[in-house]
Symmetry: C2
Subunit: 342 residues, 2 copies
DNA sequence: ATGAAAGCGCTAACAT
DNA sequence: ATGTTAGCGCTTTCAT
């Protein structure tokens, strides 16, 4: 194992001092070109690797960013992380990932280790268990930039970025109406989560605007899995007055419905239309393609990263916390494009 | 912004010295229980957060691990990362993620920043462009534990962990043969990557073992995308003597084939069987379900993390580099289960 | 059982 | 344009 060469070693060999070498390496003014050149050359010769830890200790900056999510292996989160990483890498930051598995305790532990590691910022998407936020208060008190994305903590006065779930639903359902469907069912999630509440509200508002009747019997709350989708699609289709379209708050239960309907040889989209939410990768891969609401996960990550960079560059306190709401995009695929219109 | 309390502050308030406090906090022997208790209490009172950077500088350990992958938002890699993160978190390590987008230059840059950051280990899955490895030599020279997973660098004498691609292919093709298919085509990737070479070899060996003819015309190398799968499935089916099954080294090109075949109303699996590789999430969601080879991504990540922990605990040099090959599992779904056997 | 002192490698304030 | 000095917060000898 080679001994690592330090700034002092370089200084000694050049008969100068560590500070000069340090300044030369960072190309600061007040050092002659000749010296800078000599330093750079020697650094290269010895393959000098600056010690980021030492530099971090001295400067109080670790050039590191923590990202806390429920799980990294989900299309949405991994895309957000990918977007974040791409942006901050260019600015010289490293990304530490933390997955909470939706557990409050892990969320708290991660906050502590990130604080101990003196990260320059923390980006968080909340876990399902999180109802309190004193662990996040500590981040703010430490003067570290804190940003929430997607699953945000409404009570905290920090920057948040999310998509407009209401608008996504509204667009999806309006599209179905335009395609001539007029008895549209809804699969939703638990009402205590704002995402699902907003998606349901968007659905209702779109129906109201089109003067369509809201029928509670075809508004179904389930756990949004493929199986739930199958089961509830069956339930719907066996009603006296079955729907002619299903709008699901999740691609997975939409898929379940789609699979059930295909099995029963319903014509999709002509007999019945299906729309999902999230634009999971598989939606474009199945047959027929599933119309879905895209959450711009990659852009969300990039935007989030840019907000972080802006905050650190301005310094804590010189930045007005903001709430940013991205408009989702409806991706119209075959599952909802009925040829026979009204 | 609150001033951070240091070990010195605690020492002063207790009329003792930093070293005593440090030892007490780490529960080292040679400190009275009374003192330890007092220190812990005060630390709690002030919510003392140890400065990991300072500790890292002094001890030469950052308790951080770098993971370099081509892309984080792919089912396989994100699952591996998830597995790694779960294991090392328990051991007190942070995970820095790095995505190369298959670019050699980024791979080299990441190696440098990780070395600068004095990480305790680096886990890598190679990018497509990587043909040289001097950037990895630097890691070994620095005495930092280096482990390759999945896409490994054969030339380097370090620990590698991968799945047995040959075996996966062999199982997949043997299964097709057992199902009565006897003219099996193959979609493969670039030969210079161990994974694709091995998958092709396994395919050939399985055919040989069943005394089936190897026909170079139905062994196709493409870029393994959905589009390539569609295009090449079309090409195959338009041959004078088309195959009755397709084994693809990637789920994506298998899907492309499947979509093309369905469009042309071929009966799957009765007329033609399709098998993919990787067990991407969508394979179980489409219709018919796509038979695929599961790579145990989560376990691979966990195993990888355990190897890393073992290496750091033993210290560089006290560890024999090894090659670990996990047996993949064939997940048989409908796309290959022909009812009419030989 | 505790303290004193040195230093990890770098940066920044203050000289010259 | 360069050098001197001090110190970031912790850990680790070596004393006592």
């Amino acid at each position: 194992m080679k001994k690592r060469v330090t700034i002092q070693d370089l200084a000694k060999e050049l008969n100068t001092t560590p500070s000069t070498v340090s300044r030369a390496l960072r190309d600061l003014p007040g050092i002659s070109e000749a010296m800078k050149e000599a330093v750079r050359e020697l650094a290269k010769k010895y393959d000098y690797q600056p010690n980021a830890i030492a530099s971090g200790l001295r400067s109080g900056k670790s050039n590191t960013l923590g990202v806390i999510v429920p799980r990294v292996n989900r299309d949405f989160f991994s895309s957000v992380i990918s977007g974040i990483e791409d942006v901050v890498f260019e600015a010289g930051y490293n990304v530490i990932i933390c997955q909470t598995h939706d557990r409050l305790e892990k969320e708290q532990q991660y906050i502590n280790t990130l604080l101990n590691g003196r990260v320059d910022g923390i980006l968080v998407s909340l876990g399902l268990e999180t109802r309190e936020h004193c662990h996040f208060e500590k981040v703010v008190e430490a003067g570290i930039s804190l940003i929430f994305f997607d699953r945000v903590c409404e009570e905290m006065d920090v920057t948040k970025i999310m998509i407009d779930d209401f608008d996504g639903s509204f667009k999806a359902v309006s599209h179905l109406v335009k395609m001539g469907y007029n008895r549209i069912a809804h699969f939703g999630g638990p009402d205590f989560l704002n995402v699902y509440r907003n998606r349901k509200d968007g659905y209702i508002r779109a129906l109201e605007k089109s003067n369509l009747k809201i029928d509670e019997r075809i508004i179904i709350q389930n756990d949004l899995t493929v199986e739930a989708g199958k089961r509830d699609a069956e339930r719907l289709m066996k009603m006296d007055n079955p729907p002619d379209a299903i709008f699901s708050a999740s691609d997975y239960s939409a898929l379940g419905a789609l699979l059930y309907l295909k099995e029963k040889t319903y014509e999709i989209p002509d007999q019945i239309g299906v729309v999902g939410f999230s634009n999971e990768k598989f939606t474009s891969l199945i047959d027929p393609g599933l119309t879905s609401v895209d959450q711009h996960s990659d852009e969300l990550g990039k935007y989030c990263a840019e907000l972080f960079l802006e905050e650190v560059n301005r310094g804590a306190g010189n930045f007005v916390p903001r709430k940013i709401i991205l408009n989702p995009k409806l991706l119209i695929r075959r599952s909802s494009q009925r040829k026979v219109k009204i």
